[in-house]
Symmetry: C2
Subunit: 217 residues, 2 copies
DNA sequence: CATGGTTTGTACTCGCTGGTCCGTACAGGC
DNA sequence: GCCTGTACGGACCAGCGAGTACAAACCATG
């Protein structure tokens, strides 16, 4: 067998494909789809533009592959969650925190989803894999919600998808709009203290929204 | 004076400039910056590409002018708010509703801000007008917040900018990510019923977040 | 009705960029 | 050693698209 440690250079399709994909993630996340340059993606790798077309056929398909890849990364984030053993409020807190952390740790993901929205989600719409994977989140949320309702710690009548949007909205927005917010209000949202405060905020906002007490109308 | 009713065609700089700006707003909002075509902007007007360069010098400056314009549109939305006469909770509700309505009614605004974020807000950063205008929102929020706190209907210690992000985040996200959300979950967020429910949600979320009762930790 | 500045139109340039042509090198089966 | 398919590379091309050269109208003056 060849040595695994040393970089077995050429003739490694897996490695080449992966390298192109990583370079494409960085390039598309930085510049968006139209402004991204295939030549620049090639320059980020140790291979050539020809290889990009060899493995991915076109710039569009490459971008579609990038989306599949980063949406796939969310699956891992979800799986790390403690499932049904925790009390509902605690499970919900962890869900919110995991969502927050994933967005904060992966600004490329956020940017690429923004880019895809400007493209009107034509790639996501064409990918059953992405659609299915994400729709699963709703199931998890729904289960926790139902359990919490049964135990009387959450109020009834909450739509899981609406709740998902409430959670993701804040987590997404503070990353996607980091630059305009930073320019307008002069606060760097990447600072650790700000991020920690927002993380607590997100949890509190959700738990208060779900609380059964009908104090706020 | 010339007739105001009939279309006084050429030799109308104001009208020409305005027409170009409107066309540019539509084009940039639809396609983003890099994918937008100056020729297509010209085609959306009754004038020519030459005029775009005559009035705006370059594609970049045209985009900067577009941003100034749409951010300016927010000022009008704010002014319609009842100021300090209402009770704090009611004032806050109106603020949230106005924010929600503005985003829902102006998807171009949302898209253009998304595009600007992909450009890392370099245009907003270079425009003191935009920065100043928007920072003013915080003042309004801050005042309502302080009054509510004094009257005991809001809890203390809420940062106005954080609150602004909480409100805008949801309103922005459901428009900016309309397409991916629609593709993944199969729900059209433009439907009147869904929008109405989300509007109520936004208000409730904010009021619950601000409520002094310390039921949720 | 000259005159000069402003507004508008046409036809062009020219660099850039997605995509391809044609060829080489490598590995394994026989 | 030969042969076939897979992995790779560099040079090239064609069309697109931002920006401009060159005027021609137009309008307000004197």
């Amino acid at each position: 067998m060849p040595d695994d440690q040393a970089p077995r250079r050429s003739r490694d399709p897996e490695h080449t494909r992966r390298a192109i994909l990583d370079a494409a993630i960085a390039e598309f996340a930085e510049k968006g789809f139209a402004a991204a340059r295939v030549d620049d993606i090639a320059a980020r790798t140790s291979t050539t533009k020809r290889m990009i077309y060899y493995y991915f056929q076109s710039k569009e398909r490459l971008f579609a592959a990038v989306l599949e890849e980063i949406y796939g990364g969310m699956r891992d984030a979800e799986r790390a969650l403690a499932p049904d053993v925790l009390p509902p409020a605690e499970a919900m807190r962890r869900l919110v925190e995991a969502t927050f952390d994933h967005h904060a740790a992966h600004p490329e993901f956020v940017r690429l989803v923004s880019v895809e929205n400007i493209l009107e989600a034509k790639n996501v719409a064409a990918s059953p894999a992405i659609r299915g994977r994400n729709a699963a989140v709703i199931g998890t949320l729904s289960a926790v919600l139902a359990r919490g309702e049964r135990e009387g710690v959450f109020r009834p009548g909450i739509d899981p998808l609406d709740l998902h949007m409430l959670i993701s909205g804040f987590c997404f927005y503070r990353v996607s709009n980091r630059h305009t917010l930073g320019a307008i209000f002069g606060r760097d949202l990447r600072e650790a203290e700000v991020a920690a405060a927002h993380r607590r905020m997100a949890v509190e906002m959700v738990l208060r929204y779900l609380a059964p007490v009908s104090s706020a109308k």
